[in-house]
């Protein structure tokens, strides 16, 4: 069988100064009576044989190092991250993946694969009685006309769409500031099935994750937060396909001098957006650094500044489309 398992523990063991770094909480975070029956032992990475596997794994490795260093027991060696690579893809190795999940009870998986494999993987997870904490669809296009039209209503070239159990398991707020550092326009939409468990904080007033954004909330039938940079709230709604006539209240604005800069302090810097994504998905999977906003839906829209457009045009995205997962079995 060409399912290749190996251990990976490289990257930045020195960790960093994540603004919201905490102890990994490798237990389930659900709300129902059936949510806490599995105690998660360890974390693993499933690579689905995509062109982005290596970059994604770099981000995963860095995040795993950061989180391991943050455990607080300096003498303890972090458990090596187990990596499984599907050399010929999931569509060919569906039985092996089913068996892998069936024999890895107590494991939290971070996974990346193409969209076709993702459709099947979701089915395998359900059949295995697994827990799906987060599923993200990621698209970068090199549609030049869309780039130039982004000044109006066309969506950004880099888009992320997540369905997550709650903001606690959703990578958007970790990813957004790291993408800002790349000076490329992007959008992130996250839909949550359940709300974050209250820790006594209010949703407003906390913008440590992404101070370049102006943050708005709408308290209609669906509690929604929208974080915009370089676009108005109305433009942001339009770019995400949301109702422009929705009423919004601003609850956080950028600090002076913050706009357009990356302010999260850490030693690791992603080489590209896929690495940043792997990093964010893994931290969310480990329960580290996520922001508990009490909303059912969250969006980020960032438009690169005018002076950066040329740079963006020159380093236009390669065409990538794939899906990421955080699951437990």
């Amino acid at each position: 069988m060409d399912v290749n398992r190996r251990n990976l523990m490289k990257g930045i063991l020195a960790g960093g100064t994540l603004t919201m770094c905490g102890i990994p909480r490798l237990t389930t975070a659900g709300m129902g009576p059936d949510s806490d029956t599995v105690k998660i032992r360890t974390c693993a990475l499933l690579l689905g044989n995509t062109p982005v596997d290596d970059a994604f794994a770099n981000g995963v490795s860095a995040a795993y190092s950061v989180s391991s260093a943050g455990i607080g027991n300096a003498s303890a060696q972090p458990t090596p991250l187990e990596v499984v690579k599907l050399k010929s893809g999931l569509l060919v190795k569906v039985r092996q993946v089913s068996e892998l999940l069936a024999t890895s009870r107590g494991m939290r998986w971070v996974a990346v694969m193409d969209d076709a494999s993702a459709a099947v993987f979701t089915e395998i997870v359900r059949t295995a009685g697994g827990r799906l904490l987060s599923r993200g669809t990621h698209v970068s296009s090199r549609n030049v006309s869309a780039y130039s039209a982004f000044q109006s209503d066309s969506p950004p070239l880099l888009r992320h769409l997540w369905a997550s159990v709650s903001p606690e398991q959703s990578p958007g707020a970790i990813l957004a500031p790291r993408l800002v550092g790349n000076h490329k326009s992007f959008s992130i939409v996250e839909d949550f099935l359940g709300e974050a468990r209250s820790n006594g904080e209010t949703s407003s007033g906390s913008h440590l994750f992404a101070p370049v954004f102006r943050s708005y909330e709408s308290t209609g039938p669906l509690a929604t937060h929208l974080h915009c940079s370089g676009v108005s709230v109305s433009e942001g709604c339009g770019l995400l396909g949301w109702n422009r006539s929705q009423r919004w209240t601003e609850f956080s604005s950028p600090r002076d001098g913050d706009e357009g800069t990356q302010t999260v302090q850490e030693n690791w810097h992603p080489a590209n957006w896929v690495e940043a994504l792997g990093y964010a998905v893994t931290l969310a999977g480990l329960g580290v650094g996520t922001l508990q906003e009490y909303c059912a839906r969250r969006g980020f829209v960032y438009r690169a500044r005018q002076g950066e457009w040329r740079n963006m045009y020159e380093s236009i995205f390669s065409e990538e489309r794939f899906t990421s997962f955080i699951v437990e079995v």
Binding site: V94, R95, V125, P155, A163
Partner: protein, 514 residues
Amino acid sequence: MASKYIALPKGISEQTFDAAVRDFSRVLGDESVLTAPERLAPYIKTMMPVPDSEHTLSAALMATTVEQIQKILAICNKYKIPIWTISTGKNLGYGSAAPAERGQVVLDLKRMNRILEVDKDLAYALVEPGVTYQQLYDYIKERNLGLWLSVPAPSAIAGPTGNTLDRGVGYTPYGEHFLFACGMEVVLANGDVLRTGMGSLPNSNTWQVFKWGYGPYLDGIFTQSNYGIVTKFGFWLMPAPSAYRPFVIRYQNEEDIEEIVEIMRPLRINGVIPNAVVIAHALYEAPVIARRSDYVTGPGSISDVAVRKLVKDHNLGIWNVYAALYGTEEQIALNWKIVTQAFGKSGRGQILTQQDVGDDPAFAYRAALMRGDMNLQEFSLYNWRGGGGSMWFAPVSQARGSETLKQMSLTKQILAKHGLDYSGEFIVGMRDMHHIVDVLYDKTDPAQEKAAYQCFDELLTVFSAQGYGTYRVNSAFMDKVASTYGPVQRQVHKTLKKALDPNGILAPGKSGIR
């Protein structure tokens, strides 16, 4: 968002639902009543251009016995809780495992997965709804029973009960699955257990060999419907032929499809070619070996020039005709002569066998499906554009060449208007022909998602106006398709529903029936 549930059934208070969940737990045990969001999340993801929140379930129940199902239905009747039943839930592109309406409780029968009987001599099987094709395939192989399955594209992960009940198809001579169904056990909404056909007769051993029984034939009303929960399902298996010859005929012009169907129809009706013939357009074939982004950037549908280049680059046909011959070597030799003569006359098609194409991945997966092997490569379609959006558009016509180009042209025109590509195939059943189009779009692009919805709606409207009915559709468009078949049929469906399920607890909305 203050509720402990991620959704509630329409018109049901949280207090009432609490009581129902407690009762479900008494029947099934806590571990078989799922309400936690992370356990329900794998049921929700759909590929339709509507918010997943419209198809969010409130709970999932894992039943393992008929008696449990009877008790669950009693609870549903007591509290008026709607329940959406799935067997394996692999209805990809048609709604997957998600219920038709927000808040419905999913009854997941995947743990009812016993293979009850496989008869080698009479070539039939009786299974529970959770049995997968892979499971049955392994069972037959391990026992060397010499029988073949007929499987749909999701093969390994799907199952015969769910696929047949949704009137799905496969690619062997037994590919029209409901045609080979024989005998069901059905739990009705009032808890009664019906065995159809000969199954109602005590001491009968003909339940899986004679379909009709006595009186009105009932099996059909439990397909694409919400009149009962099928808990046992009988169907016929194909004896493994001693020889098998899959082939492909490649044509290089879109107009050639008229000739293809005219040649193919008599070969199908007189049984020379015994399986449903797939005539796949280049864009249906391409995702196995290429990506759209290699040929297109920018908005709009792919151009004909780009399709030509793709065909040339990958040695495809514009049309790729897949069929197979089955039987003894002598039978195949005789029929091969008939087929090659028929298709060789015009000189337009290039007939190729396994030997000719080598390890061509498109041929390999088609050849596997035509002998009932497990293969998921068709889902490479989802990588063509990427972004996770897919809907199958499936109008039915007569198997005539004259029905092809006008359908294709109309479909391409509507898709292009909305910036989408034509990824289509025609399947010549016998006298009928299915036109299967995968409407692929990017769910991360809100404008494209909206366009996909409008496109699909327009396809249904325009095609039904021209007399092309849709044979199967995703759960976002069930009402629309039901309406195209007229008020009398809908009223009959409704009358049956009222009689068999007066509280309307079984899968409200399935096929537009409430």
